[in-house]
């Protein structure tokens, strides 16, 4: 019984916010911010992939990205989005493990802060940030002679009216 009464109360207060986030409707720059984030993340991804090839030889593949939902905001809806890009570099014959040793300078040369090495299941990740963009090189020795490059921008809240557009936005063109 208590549950039903409580829901009625919650419904009547719906839309009051209360989580400390600014009303996105008052932020007309949200879409522009996401477009800019796309440009920034793709440019950084291209720079890191090129840098990794410079350090380890080999070739890149699967250099793509897209907008992903960040935090859900109810049925069929994300309240915020971010741009994510990834890529793979199959290292050259002369590359020596751990590959990540050679990739710290690639991150710092691209203007990222001091990289941090972290363990992850199956391998290690070298991660750093630059202006809110998080970038990481990952090495998974059991899976093959390659490193993975992943970048993502910060979550950006978008106006309710634009959420569906961002959810359906496709970005099939490789950045490199």
């Amino acid at each position: 019984m208590a549950g039903w009464v409580l829901v009625a109360a919650v419904l009547s207060g719906c839309g009051a916010g209360g989580d400390g986030v600014d009303d996105p409707d008052s932020s007309p720059t949200a879409n522009a911010a996401l477009e800019q984030q796309r440009e920034d993340v793709r440019a950084a991804a291209a720079e890191l992939v090129t840098g990794a090839i410079g350090a380890l030889g080999g070739r890149s593949s699967h250099t793509g990205g897209g907008f992903d939902g960040c935090a859900s905001a109810g049925v069929d809806e994300f309240g915020s989005f971010r741009y994510r890009a990834s890529g793979r570099v199959d290292v050259g014959p002369g590359a020596v493990r751990p590959y990540l040793d050679a990739l710290g300078p690639v991150l710092t040369a691209a203007g990222f802060d001091e990289p941090a090495l972290r363990e992850r299941p199956g391998g290690q990740t070298l991660q750093a940030e630059r202006d809110g963009v998080s970038a990481a090189f990952s090495e998974l020795p059991g899976n093959g002679d390659y490193v993975l490059v992943n970048l993502q921008g910060p979550c950006v809240e978008v106006p309710e009216s634009d959420r569906d557009t961002w959810l359906r936005r496709q970005d099939p063109t490789p950045y490199l």
Partner: protein, 588 residues
């Protein structure tokens, strides 16, 4: 003076500019168009005959349409043949690209060795000459082997290009089509005649499919995609191929009808569902496996844009359902319909990524399943009083369909069963509860998240028919929907004839409760918290992923809800500081 015979420089492989994915897309368009032409042949042989019309005019009509049917049958076979050849061409060109990459690596490596040997010649002494010559001979042998492989590659490329071009040109004209395909029986006809009828079990369907030849299967997929696309017992890869044909045909049809300005309201609804399914597939294919970096495989397991009076049915997986070690089926809830597909696809891809990140050694597939008619009256839109009280009837009907889908997944992998987990979210947990209780779900684990109740007849985890040790519940302390389940001795469905059953996160229920709080939770109930269970880097997604991976020891369990006889429900999770475990490919 000793002469050293240096190895020759290896030739560079010629450039190869092509795009196998674009070739495959071209083939898919042709296959969808061939299905449309095939429909004309079927129509002429069936509905167009107007059997109750007799007389001279009727006879003339029947005589006139017969050649049209024959022509359509021949043309569909011809177009289908080319479409299949284009698909093969796509695969062959990918193989040639891969071979070229390997040749390029060998060429670079050999060129380095030759350069090294040339430098050695300048500094070597008479004593070292014999050894150097031996090295040169060894490398020369490798260069020769490389050159032979390069020649073979060039020849294979030329052959493939020539055969593809010939396949295009041999059926250019209508006369060619008639000469080659006129009166030829469709290889799909026999299998379709023998197909088990409605009501056949998934096992019977699987046995029928397994007995067909590869050519027969391809023919059935092209000629009658609707006959197998949603048929339980058919392997996921074949269902995907058939549903891709059906979707491609529908998109072309509806777009053309819209352009012509004659799209009906019903067709508009179906078109929206088809577009949503297409976007959902692209959403998954546009994401990358966090372990390999390769695009995630998408499989359209169910596609029926007209189902449930236009709400539509669609189920698409991230990952290969036929081969994955771990398979998760996610059952969404309130407000879900065909147009929800892109959102559900994002979730499925997110769950796929998370399961892969947390166990790179296992292969996975996450299927979002909009395979039942979910309540449209979402409580956050309309309130329970606005659209009438939500009852279990849709969950009961959906549970039966879910059980069929699970049976189909099992039947198509009889010899290689996956670790299979059903995950019900929101009203989808009520549906999953009904499927388990009423029909028995052949799953290894069952997970309820954000559950408003798992069905009135399921008072305890053991009532699901699944070992209670493999029944799991996630409930965010700020989720108002999860608070709807009956607690303690109050049973809504028995008091009001409405309500959705017991809260699976409560101590009396006997399931494992896992941590599912969010770092972005507010201070009070919020519908936003009802939808965060599948977001990256949440406790909930990490724990669900561990369960899907069968990695039970890694699951962070939570204390159960408790409803004392007197006083409000107590949730020990309410005051616990939420964490943010890494589930995306990155450390946040």
């Amino acid at each position: 003076m000793t002469t050293i015979q240096l190895p020759p420089l290896p030739r560079v492989a010629p450039a190869l500019t092509c795009d196998p994915a674009a070739i495959s897309a071209c083939g898919a368009d042709l296959l969808a168009a061939s299905a449309q032409v095939d429909d004309l042949g079927t129509f002429v042989a069936g509905r167009a005959r107007v059997d109750d019309w007799t007389g001279e005019a009727a006879t003339a009509y029947h005589q006139a349409i017969a050649p049209t049917g024959r022509r359509a049958d021949a043309m569909s076979l011809a177009l289908r043949g080319v479409a299949h050849r284009v698909e093969e061409h796509s695969a062959e060109m990918q193989r040639l690209l891969d071979r070229r990459t390997a040749l390029e690596d060998r060429q670079q490596h050999l060129a380095q060795q030759v350069a090294h040997l040339r430098a050695e010649v300048a500094t070597t002494t008479e004593e070292g000459a014999a050894e150097l010559q031996a090295d040169c001979d060894r490398v020369a042998g490798q260069v020769q082997a490389y050159e032979t492989d390069l020649d073979t590659w060039v020849s294979d490329l030329a052959t493939e290009e020539s055969e593809m071009s010939q396949a295009f040109t041999r059926v250019l004209g209508a006369d060619d089509v008639d000469r080659i395909y006129g009166g030829v029986a469709d290889p799909a006809d026999g299998p379709l005649r023998d197909k088990p009828g409605a009501g056949a079990s998934p096992a019977e369907v699987h046995a029928w499919w397994a007995a067909l030849t590869a050519a027969q299967r391809r023919a059935v997929i092209a000629a009658a995609p609707g006959a197998i696309g949603n048929l339980d017992g058919i392997p996921a890869s074949a269902r995907h191929a058939a549903n891709t044909v059906a979707l491609g045909r529908d998109l072309a049809d509806y777009a053309h009808t819209e352009d012509a300005g004659v799209l009906t309201d019903d067709e508009r609804t179906c078109y929206d569902n088809a577009l949503a399914a297409d976007e959902a597939r692209r959403e998954i294919e546009g994401r990358h496996d966090p372990v390999t970096g390769e695009p995630i495989v998408a499989q359209i397991y169910i596609y029926d844009p007209a189902a449930f009076d236009g709400d539509g049915a669609v189920a698409i997986s991230a990952g290969d359902l036929d081969t994955a070690d771990n398979v998760a089926v996610v059952v969404p809830g309130f407000g879900t319909d065909g147009e929800s597909a892109p959102y559900q696809a994002d979730r499925a891809a997110t769950l796929y990524e998370s399961t892969r990140v947390l166990d790179p050694s296992a292969t996975n597939a996450s299927l979002f399943w909009i395979g039942y008619d979910a309540p449209d009256n979402a409580p956050w839109d309309e309130g329970y009083d606005g659209a009438g009280v939500v009852t279990e009837s849709m969950a009961a009907a959906g549970g039966e369909r879910l059980a069929d889908t699970i049976d189909g997944l099992r039947a198509s992998r009889e010899d290689d069963p996956a670790h299979l987990t059903a995950i019900g979210h929101s009203y989808g947990s009520t549906t999953t509860g009904h499927g388990a209780h009423d029909h028995g779900l052949g799953v290894d684990d069952v997970v309820f998240v954000g559950s408003p109740g798992v069905g009135g007849d399921t008072d305890h985890a053991s009532d699901t028919g699944v070992d209670p040790d493999h029944v799991w519940a996630g409930s965010n302390s700020r989720d108002p929907i999860a608070d709807l389940g009956n607690h303690g001795w109050v049973h809504g469905e028995t008091v009001f004839g409405a309500g959705l059953g017991d809260d699976p996160a409560e101590d009396d229920f006997g399931a494992h409760r896992f941590q599912a709080e969010s770092t972005t939770r507010g201070g009070a109930y919020s519908f936003g918290d009802h939808s965060k269970y599948f977001d990256h880097d949440t406790e909930s997604l990490a724990n669900i992923s561990h369960i899907v991976n069968g990695d039970y020891d890694a699951v962070q369990e939570a204390e159960h809800l408790h409803d004392p006889f007197l006083g409000p429900v107590e949730d020990p999770e309410y005051d616990r500081e939420p964490t943010s475990p890494t589930t995306s490919s990155l450390t946040p």
